[in-house]
């Protein structure tokens, strides 16, 4: 047992659960590793060996086996199809993951991204041969600027955290230009912030000072003013914040930050709540990253790729990194070098996540300005609907107030049940739901953060709500078994994460001969 009293090692008393020869249970199938089923000489492609020629590899030729098994095409298809079926996905069910914005991933986006004119394009082709690609990036950039009311956008960051890094680097560049990079070394970050915020600040040499939120869940201007010493470079705020609340003092905070000579970075992870309702540029934001894989529907792909363009205020626009798109009359080109300009450098090779740009633009064109505002309104309405439907059973840390696009609960309502947030989450799996975000934000005990998004039907929301109510009442009634052993119906039961960390096995190894 681990310290939560949950089993971490297999119990020898467990009767065999599978009961079949193969270990499969109809469509629920086990699948071995390719290293166990593949062979070094098997291949699923047909290539003829080249005609003999004089090699120019010199002494660098690779000798010896590499250790890469192959599968023929039918075997490979079986392998990956079977593996895929052990995954939950948004196509299959609701993901109530707060701060992740798991909305529907339109297939039109996939079709557009695969047009040869986009997919089969090398980033370093002569500029005259890629005018349509530059037009697409420019169109997306323009849409993002319109949505956010900002002046410039750096398109190259590869993910949200990379965008944060870009935004903070831009701020550091601006400080350096003012000769204040050695004196302004502190970044203010609320305790409720996502871990990437302080990690990003620390990466580029800032030290982090915590700013507390009030009992109402938002940061007060007084708290910020109290923390705004002359050594402060910037504040990093998430808005709406990680508790699902709009930072209602944001304008006053922005004014105080600017008056103190510092900059305002906004973590845009929750932008889905405010499209067409408010613009960060109007609120005083200097830099904000946008997660295309959250707000703009690009698929999560089991962990990536993402894209994190960063919109910038006029104060920061000049310092945006290379590359940027430049208009010469009717044609477009790329400014690819930062020397000789104020651009602070380069975030990555090439120009950004073009594949995600195509998808995001397809999404934006499909919704339009009216549709995007409707999406935010529906997202906020759906979260409040869930909140209002559960608030009699589950405790909310900041009282019974409306939320934005996500509803936050804590674990106080579970305290007499002996059950944890984790137990509750695992029981959701048996009901066919991916758990909500748990134990984040850290400022709330046993946090449960629910973000349904606008792409759930009312029927889907109602079933989700009724299921959570059933689980909650079950927990409160002391029906522990449903929770402590959960999940029992998933492809795997709870995993021994302690063992994985104490004895890390991070690759398949050929078994030693007996």
């Amino acid at each position: 047992m681990n310290s939560q009293g949950r089993p971490t090692r297999p119990s020898v008393d467990d009767a065999p659960r599978r009961g079949t020869f193969t270990g499969n249970r109809a469509l629920d199938m086990e699948e071995a590793l390719i290293f166990e089923t593949g062979r070094l000489d098997a291949t699923g492609v047909d290539f003829e060996a080249p005609a003999p020629f004089a090699s120019k590899l010199g002494a660098h030729a690779r000798e010896g086996a590499i250790g890469l098994p192959g599968l023929t095409e039918p075997e490979a298809v079986r392998h990956y199809v079977r593996l895929s079926r052990n995954n939950y996905s948004i196509d299959a069910g609701l993901y109530p993951l707060g701060s992740c914005t798991m909305k529907h991933n339109p297939r039109l986006n996939e079709k557009m991204a695969r047009l040869p004119g986009f997919a089969d394009l090398h980033p370093l082709q002569p500029i005259a041969t890629v005018q349509g690609a530059l037009e697409l990036i420019d169109s997306l950039a323009h849409a993002l600027l319109t949505l956010t009311g900002m002046s410039a956008v750096a398109m190259s960051p590869k993910a949200g955290a990379h965008g944060e890094l870009c935004g903070m680097m831009t701020i550091k560049a601006a400080l350096t230009a003012r000769g204040e990079d050695k004196t302004r070394t502190v970044v203010l970050v609320p305790d409720s912030a996502h871990g990437t915020n302080p990690a990003t600040a620390a990466l580029i040499g800032f030290s982090v000072r915590a700013v507390p939120a009030g009992a109402d869940g938002v940061v007060s201007a007084e708290a910020v003013r109290a923390a705004l010493t002359p050594d402060v470079a910037a504040i990093m705020l998430t808005n709406p914040n990680t508790c699902g609340l709009f930072e209602r003092n944001i304008v006053e905070i922005a004014d105080a930050v600017h008056a103190a000579g510092a900059y305002f970075y906004c973590d845009g992870a929750n932008f889905n709540a405010v499209m067409g309702k408010a613009r960060p540029g109007d609120l005083g934001v200097d830099a904000m990253h946008i997660n295309l894989h959250k707000t703009f529907s690009t698929p999560h792909g089991g962990g990536g790729p993402g894209a994190g363009p960063v919109v910038l205020s006029e104060r920061l626009a000049a310092f945006a990194p290379a590359p940027s798109i430049v208009r010469n009359g009717q044609s477009l080109s790329l400014a690819e070098h930062s020397d000789g300009t104020q651009a602070f450098g380069r975030m990555s090779a090439f120009h950004g996540q073009m594949g995600m740009f195509v998808r995001a633009l397809a999404y934006i064109l499909s919704h339009g300005g009216d549709g995007l505002r409707q999406a935010s309104e529906d997202a906020v309405l759906a979260a409040n609907y869930v909140r209002a439907s559960l608030s009699d059973l589950m405790s909310a840390p900041f009282g019974d107030q409306p939320c934005m696009h996500e509803a936050l609960f804590d674990d106080r309502w579970l305290k007499d049940t002996g059950l944890t947030t984790l137990d509750f989450a695992k029981a959701m799996i048996d009901e066919g739901y991916h758990p909500m975000t748990v134990y984040f934000p850290l400022v709330v005990h046993g946090a449960m953060l629910i973000e349904p998004t606008e792409s759930e039907s009312k029927a889907s929301l109602d079933l989700f709500i009724m299921t959570l109510r059933d689980l909650a009442m079950s927990a409160l009634a002391g029906e522990r078994e449903r929770f402590v052993a959960a999940p029992v119906a998933a492809p795997r039961r709870r995993l021994d994460e302690t063992r994985a960390a104490r004895q890390p096995t991070l690759r398949w190894m050929k078994p030693a001969p007996a």
């Binding site: 290293f35 890629v130 949505l147 999406a375």
Partner: protein, 452 residues
């Protein structure tokens, strides 16, 4: 609107439950003066037909690489990806699933990552690999930070064979983190003497092979020189296919290996999304950034996979994290893994041989043109030619003749004085006719004299 399932009746019922008079009441915390009263200056939503039309028009203004004889590499390479790969990665359960934080319902993703990690370790000749980074250039930057943590030094030496944009990324990180970066001048002939650049303050030396110009470099003596001074060797590659023909960095004593995996499984896609590969020795694993899938058992004792060693990562260590990374390049890593499984060792060696054969053939044809010489002694599928007049202009003239002939070095390094160099790549998708056409067109351009 087709992606929004709620209708007016639904909304009214939901508002009633919430107890709000209208949806704007739910936005009351936005300061009144800042609420958007007017619609955004964006056109209204378009139907699917119109969206397709507009995007297809934009796509049509580009010259797709496959539509012409194509010889451009320089960090991203055009290979044949079997049709199966793109179909498999579009399965709902792979395409639309989240990061595998709930392992009980994510064994598909986790097992693939475990297989991917094993493949990358084997390919690079290293002991352990992570579940991928954003791309090769950011992986390189992160490797330098890792070397700083391991050696407790802050100076990195970058070989003149490193892709100029990779060097730019490392230099940007270095300036921002107050670390020292020594950038050696671009080195088309692999002639630099790296050992003399390593001292007791060097944390790492970063060397690419095959390098930006296509040269194959022996990393073993560089590793020895680095280790003698307590520094680490970071080996970089931008063409993952090369590892099917060329000695692995692990065999040459590299401490950290990073590279671009795009060549295997992933389209060119105008520069992204790509997939960064990152591998190291087991003793360094706790300092390695990025996600890691590990093997364990579940409560029934069944073999299972889970993200592990997460306490290094940002969501737990916060300002003490190994990096701020949150995503890997999951779907691109999946595509890499599927493609490599379909190739297998035999297939990889064969396609690598075809790449090398194509490049050797092209190099012969181009060097036969008067005034054109090949700079490299040894190369894989990419080499550099020296031309009698400015390369940038020649590339444009070749475009006019329907050929994409490679990268003029001056595009990525305008002030290096290497305006007469073109980096040329030939892969298994180039045909004999393509290579003949290139040679003929280049010869014509040079005979014609042409303008600058």
């Amino acid at each position: 609107m087709r992606y929004l399932p709620l209708d007016a009746v639904d909304r009214a019922q939901m508002l009633a439950r919430v107890g709000a008079p209208d949806v704007d009441a739910l936005f009351a915390d936005i300061p009144a003066a800042k609420r958007l009263a007017a619609p955004l200056d964006l056109p209204n939503g378009l139907g699917e037909i119109e969206v397709e039309r507009r995007l297809a028009r934009m796509a049509g203004r580009n010259v797709a690489a496959g539509s012409v004889p194509f010889f451009l590499g320089a960090g991203a390479y055009r290979h044949h990806v079997p049709a199966t790969v793109d179909h498999l990665i579009q399965r709902s359960e792979f395409l639309t699933s989240y990061t595998p934080y709930q392992p009980e319902i994510a064994q598909g993703t986790l097992q693939v990552l475990f297989e991917f990690q094993t493949q990358v370790a084997a390919l690079t000749g290293m002991e352990v690999a992570n579940a991928s980074m954003y791309d090769g250039s950011t992986a390189c930057g992160e490797a330098i930070l890792m070397a700083h943590r391991l050696t407790r030094r802050r100076k990195a030496v970058l070989s003149g064979g490193l892709h100029p944009q990779y060097s730019d990324v490392a230099a940007t990180l270095g300036v921002m983190a107050n670390d020292e970066i020594v950038r050696l001048p671009l080195d088309p002939r692999a002639a630099e003497d790296l050992a003399t650049q390593i001292d007791d303050e060097t944390s790492c030396v970063v060397v690419q092979s095959p390098d930006f110009f296509g040269n194959l470099r022996d990393l073993k003596p560089i590793a020895a020189a680095a280790h003698a001074k307590g520094a680490l060797l970071i080996a970089v590659f931008t063409e993952a296919m090369s590892l099917g023909a060329v000695r692995s960095p692990g065999e040459m004593d590299a401490d950290i290996v990073v590279g671009e995996g795009q060549s295997i499984g992933n389209a060119l896609s105008f520069g992204g999304p790509y997939v960064g590969l990152f591998a190291t020795r087991l003793k360094n694993v706790r300092q390695m950034p990025g996600r890691l899938a590990g093997e364990t058992v579940d409560a029934d004792g069944r073999c299972s996979f889970v993200l592990t060693l997460s306490t290094r990562e940002q969501h737990i260590r916060r300002e003490k994290a190994t990096s701020n990374i949150c995503t890997n390049s999951g779907l691109c890593a999946l595509a890499f893994s599927i493609h490599l499984t379909l190739l297998g060792e035999a297939g990889l060696r064969r396609v690598a041989a075809l790449n090398h054969a194509a490049a050797v053939d092209l190099a012969e044809r181009l060097s036969a043109i008067p005034g054109v010489s090949v700079v490299n002694d040894a190369f894989f599928n990419e080499f550099t030619i020296r031309t009698p007049r400015a390369a940038a202009g020649l590339i444009d003239e070749l475009v006019a003749r329907g050929i994409i002939g490679g990268l003029p070095v001056s595009r990525l390094a305008p002030r290096a004085g290497l305006d007469d160099l073109i980096v040329v790549a030939a892969t298994e998708v180039s045909t004999l006719a393509d290579r003949q056409a290139y040679a003929a067109a280049l010869a014509q351009c040079l005979q014609a004299g042409g303008k600058k």
